[in-house]
Symmetry: none
């Protein structure tokens, strides 16, 4: 087992389960469930099997822990499949499909289900000092990217109101399945978003719904150009 040997010689920074990592993980759960304000340090430490003072020691603050959770959530997002899939797409339409499918997959498909999306839901219901950071680091790049794709399809600039409105239509349709999850689960109990099949159903619907519009709008704007 040379691999195991190699692992052993690695510096101990990759400790299998250090308190710090367990705290972040537990905090992710709790913050996703209760939001920053209502989450309690005690609850987090209990789930992490750590002392109450551990948060203060490792992160100085409840807010410090929260910030760290967000940072990790962000960096986990950055190199993400979404990004990759989008950039490797051949046509903008394909890119949009990847984009939408990626969002839904990350919402329910990952090991940490919905984590950052649910945290962001809380962040919007009750913003914390970290909101600005989140927007600039996570949301804005993705928003710009989406507008780029849509603008390309529409033959419009990324700043054109129509481009923006369509981008918001995409975002609204997608995040609705996270923000509105507790309600959807009751009003439409047959939809099982943790199953791949239903996730694809939704993703395809949103993609079709959107692309049909974009194509029509693209034809309109071309016609306008010609009539000029």
């Amino acid at each position: 087992m040379p691999g195991a040997a190699l692992k052993k010689t690695l510096p101990p920074q990759s400790d299998p389960d250090p308190t710090r990592a367990k705290l972040i993980s537990a905090a992710g759960e709790v913050f996703a469930e209760s939001g920053f304000q209502s989450a309690t340090v005690r609850e987090i430490c209990q789930r992490a099997g750590a002392n109450v003072a551990a948060v203060n020691y490792h992160f100085r603050d409840k807010l410090g822990l929260y910030t760290e959770v967000l940072r990790e959530s962000i960096s986990a997002n950055q190199g993400a499949i979404v990004q990759e899939a989008v950039t490797t797409a051949k046509t903008p339409e394909e890119a949009l499909r990847h984009f939408i499918a990626g969002i839904l997959r990350r919402m329910y498909g990952d090991d940490r289900p919905g984590w950052n999306f649910r945290i962001m839901a809380h962040e919007m219901a009750q913003p914390t000092p970290a909101l600005g950071h989140v927007i600039n680091e996570v949301l804005r790049p993705r928003y710009d990217q989406l507008r780029g794709i849509i603008g390309e399809i529409l033959h419009l600039s990324t700043d054109h109101p129509t481009t923006r409105l369509c981008a918001h239509s995409v975002i609204g349709q997608a995040v609705h399945y996270v923000h509105g999850y507790p309600v959807i689960a009751i009003l439409w109990p047959d939809l099982k978003l943790n199953q791949l099949k239903d996730r694809e159903l939704v993703a395809n619907h949103i993609s079709d719904f959107t692309l049909r519009n974009l194509r029509a709008l693209a034809r309109q704007s071309k016609r306008k150009e010609k009539s000029k």
Copy 2:
């Protein structure tokens, strides 16, 4: 005691300024801002100019007050313009436009801006025991109504997955402007949703975006029927 009798026969709303009503009004504000958990009884009582014990006296509980706020919010919604406008519409397409415009108007246009919508945003981020009640009394009727309109346009049953998906697309696009408000305000600062013009811009976009799809889908399903 004719005076006492007279008093009894007087409608109770003639009380000019009962503590109870002021409490509900103040609670609405605070709950909309902070959600149930983070809202404090002290803050509510202070804004209502009432004693700290007033909430427990009049509503037994913080949760009792919250439930009452929701009930009022609901009854204010029931006989609402939305309902009315929809039922007076001549075609289902017109009804859909009224429906969407009504939502946006109620979000930002009313005197109590966004009240119940913001409360519901909190309710979804962090459900309370009252969520079930809210769903059944407020959300489900509206959801069924919307599916009725869409089903009519699509020539599909209200339970058909496509009908449901389209309904969710409408809802998602619309509520996005409430739930995502803090973010939208930063990412698209030029959009002023408290101004009628921009509200109409958004409402028309969502309506167009949706109806263009519904018509196409309706053609598809008709074609399918024929090909059978």
Copy 3:
């Protein structure tokens, strides 16, 4: 017993032992023993037989309680015998004797032994935000008063360095018996400052010690004037 009847008709504002008063009294003790920082709200509340939250309810803060204790301590000082005795004295020398005797009596003779003096000792060892207030309300008036008396004896202005130095000599000698109490009790165990006899011994010593100097200095300055 007409007096008792009269008492009964008095407004109940003079409740015999309300929590608020008990808190202030207990806080006075504890603050005098431990100083502001080291005193704990729990200890205070326990001695007052009240709940931990009582401090927050009545005084908003630990600091709020502390401020109130100081204020009370001050107002108890203001109309005090010291003041009175000094103003009724016929000669400045007699006034000085009253002044010194008054300080010593208030240090150890009162029901609340040394309260404010010990608090002030803490305040000097480790100032709190309330120090400025204390200085202006309590210390400065007394300081000015003392300089007035001494200046009169010396035939010098109250601002003259000699006047100030002599004033500090008086203050230093007197407060030494409070600030240095724990040490004096060990180094000179025979001195019982809680007994009138020894208090008078000390007060007379300080008075004699001081007055002998002041007279000599007065003669000197007169001589200087003449020689001019």
Copy 4:
């Protein structure tokens, strides 16, 4: 192993920068500022550039460190200039002047301004278990020495109440400028005790103030003796 042997024979003070010494130095500062109770181990270790556990490792306890600081402070005091100057004085009066000047110089003139004096101020406001030690090792010898000088001038025994009262008058006047520093700085802002000139002004005042009394009292007691 000649190197090891050499190391062993080297005096330990040659260690250029041992953690232990830095800890004591930092602790001196912090204890002087905040007193034993309010000083925090973290603050001390931070200023010393040492680990949080360093105090417990080197001194077993916060109290152990404190005791060590006092011991050092004392031994630094023992062979001190005060002592020396006093013993080399030719007359008791001169010795008293040296004594008083020495106290004031040590209070404000040294590199470590007021260190042990400020610590002792805290010790009196809030005694620690180390107080007894401090009294016996530092204060009592000095107290006895002072009484010796005064007794000599007065032709009275060191235990005579008058001797003691006069000794306390000297101590009280002198330490007043340390204990009362924060207040004096406000009530008499023109006095700059960190400047030699003002220190001498004060020292001379106290010496004159005291000696004038002692001489008078000496005459009195001589007269008494004669009249017997």
